[in-house]
Amino acid sequence: MSFSRETDHGTPPVLATGKSVTLTIDGQSVTLPEGTSIMRAASLLGGSIPKLCATDNVESFGSCRLCLVEVEGRNGYPASCTTPVAEGMVVRTQTDRLKQLRRGVMELYISDHPLDCLTCGANGDCELQDQAGAVGLRDVRYGYDGATNMGQAKDQSNPYFDFDPSKCIVCSRCVRACEEVQGTFALTIENKGFESKVSPSQGEDFLGSECVSCGACVQACPTASLIEKKVVESGTPDRAVVTTCAYCGVGCTFRAEMRGEELVRMVPWKDGKANRGHSCVKGRFAWGYAQHQDRILNPMIRASVDQPWREVSWEEAIAHTASEFRRIQAKYGTRSIGGITSSRCTNEETFLVQKLIRQGFGNNNVDTCARVCHSPTGYGLSQTFGTSAGTQDFDSVMQADVILVIGANPTDGHPVFASRMKKRLRQGAKLIVIDPRRTDLVQSPHIAAEHHLPLRPGTNVAMLTAIAHVVVTEKLYDEAFIRERCDWDEFMDWAEFVSEAARSPEAIAPLTGVKADDVRAAARLYATGGNGAIYYGLGVTEHSQGSSTVMSIANLAMATGNVGREGVGVNPLRGQNNVQGACDMGSFPHEFSGYRHVSDDATRSLFERTWGVALDAEPGLRIPNMLDAATDGTFKGLFVQGEDILQSDPNTHHVAAGLAAMECVVVQDLFLNETANYAHIFLPGSTFLEKDGTFTNAERRIQRVRKVMAPLNGYADWEIVQLVANAMGLAWTYDHPSQIMDEIAALTPTFAGVSYDRLEAEGSLQWPANDAAPDGTPTMHRDGFVRGKGKFVVTDYVPTDEKTGPRFPLLLTTGRILSHYNVGAQTRRTANTAWHPEDRLEMHPSDADNRGLKDGDWVTLRSRAGETTLRALITERVAPGVVYTTFHHPETQANVITTDYSDWATNCPEYKVTAVQVMASNGPSDWQQDYAEQARNSRRIAPLEAAE
């Protein structure tokens, strides 16, 4: 794709009412949906009415008066952006009178705008410049000195963009984008007339305001008033490639705007069906890690982890990898090695890693990071609905009447989807939040939850059962839906169970700490408020009853008939960009791609015929069991692609002991991450900018990842896996990831209709995409559940074994923050550290007072598993008795604290419940200091010997 701006139709499309009108614009007849603006109608006809304050990401405003038109039979010159089309209307957009008026308007703008176009960062990419040309501006009768706005100080506080008030034309596009698109309301216009000025918050700078740096204002700005620093530094782009973000599971698509091989900026793609033209601070700006000096670009090996690394050729590294794995298998057996696929890599790459393990290693010892996040979603939704995926697309939220968010913090974890959700809430949908913390959704500008149920961590199942109790005992369930779509006898068993008095809101209040009346009111609202949609995150899954909680949610949705149409459903908010895809691709040790068990003879035969090898019918090891087996001496080699289990997995001591017990750990990554401290072979990885492939987001949407620059390390990750496979005796001959997708489609019924050609044509596809659903499936279970009848599963509340007591009286729960992504390997290597330079421990003022702690104090956080130190953040966001921290920084290593307790069905760790004590500290613990020293030593790279 060469460079051109995306077409801006000036005003957004209208919601379809089914009615249309026919009108004439400049002699051309056109029929359009009722409510469409004249400006948009003209644009869709291929015309272009001059505009400044209008852009199709926000509602029309009618401020700049540049878009005036003439309408036959009407007086005056209406603004085309605010005037809807009407039947029989005759519009003229180009007349002498209109030209005169527009030039007059433009004269006023230019009289108060610097004319430094040749040295301006937006030169050639400035709408004001373009429109001055479009209206034929040749002179400005009022002079060029302006009244007040020239020479104002720039606000350069934001690390990614500058604000130059001198270049602002007060069109309010930025203010409206912040309100309508992002929903933060951080910007305003202060003062009046010539004194008017865009202002973050109350006269603060951008960094110090509540601005979340999503970039919507920069994208909306028609001048250089808000402009990316990188554009100022590098110049405007000369080509653009559409690709998919590699951060969270929303899967935003962007135009990677390039100047040669240099990435100038990432601009959210308006046609992207997941993000609809919006972005967050990570995807929009935090891509600098791709060129960070810490990236390792050469393969390295070492005999033991106390030695420095030695750079070697790719040939030597690959041969050594294959040789070591074969040596270990010869000595310890076929099942003595395994691997971990990456949810940050593409579908094609994860498919190849699991294929390498099943076909090449000859076992099923493959697992993925979903083990520690959404594996309970896979189990729970498979049991109840029949497949491991969310039921809706993101657009569905715009038809929800009641939104129930449980164990999720979308404004931080899934910010672009959260903006859509907030938009719907501002339109009037009701909100229920079930979360121990008072997240931003509970109370933010123009949004207030009807009910916030701040339950005690670890009591999700009790809470959801109590809600079900109300639904059943007050006969709020949808009997017709249940009789038609579910197993009625199983429903009756479940209904009898939840109806028992012991499961009433009143009975469980002492467990959850939530008033019974609040629970009853929330239950009534969800069951009777219209379309009820449930969104959940890791606050549901990362518990000892994660799978039970997922099934409880599914039970509730089925009981109220909230499955199988738009506006409802059960929606897991996936963490990593391709965690859905990694699961789909057969990354779990018990199943092939498409969630088919390895013991299924027909499925296994299909793979055996295609791959030409007998496959193991026994499930392999999960990650924590790999580590157990390693310490037992039966698991000796591990291939880890794009994961950092030492930092992200629970009980760091356990992970370290397992890794240390292995004879060959191979890490394929961008950086020498924490896991690499225990590695013997390092294979440098490539970024999402450097390869082709696909990601699948949380709504099952398969989208293309496109290579925009050559891999700095020399190979895309799929090529590296192929090199390892072939060195191990396989004979893979993939030339392009599209061939891998063709193999996936041939082996996976839900992907049967997916190919790169289809993706190019459609933009994206939501699986299942096959003969039964050629265009994909935005809404699942529409005519029936995948498993046939929906299954109600009785989910009894079983308290966690992680107990508070005198030594550990507080409950720790962990999570993430907007500016960082998981272990922070990428975002810590960007300017996002401006917002979150360290992990902090949130603590309620009463708990802090009891310990004599003040905000900012260093504290020791101790559990039965270990201890660390970090600084305290005193806040009422957490309830008394609960503390909270993030896990983005290896200096803190929050997972030194978390325990080995895990979900009963999937072993997903219980990150959200750890009994802890907090006390004053003088600084980093002995363990932290020792670990820092070990990490420094482990990252030594021996200098290359001088050439002779």
Binding site: Q359, G362, N365, S599, N651
Partner: protein, 101 residues
Amino acid sequence: MSDDTHVMSTTDRLVYMAHQIARNMAMMGEAKATEALAEHLTRFWDPRMKAQIIAIAQDQPERLSPVVTAAVARMAQGRPAPQVDAAQFNRVDEAGHCDAG
């Protein structure tokens, strides 16, 4: 897990896991729970984990509840074959010479 210990041995963990699954299936009643637990262990546990829990059932039966004992016995009826070495495995269908790419 007591306040003084924070690292389980593998066998302790397997015993714990089996009982944790059983507790979450207890509402089914003993017969169904036994069946469901046996199926769960069969479908999700690696052969060495299965072998270890079978060995515990034989050598230290007092560590397992009646439901877990019955489920392990049922699972053991379909006990997997021991692993073969890698070279032997790959000779099964000559993976080294396939052209699956």
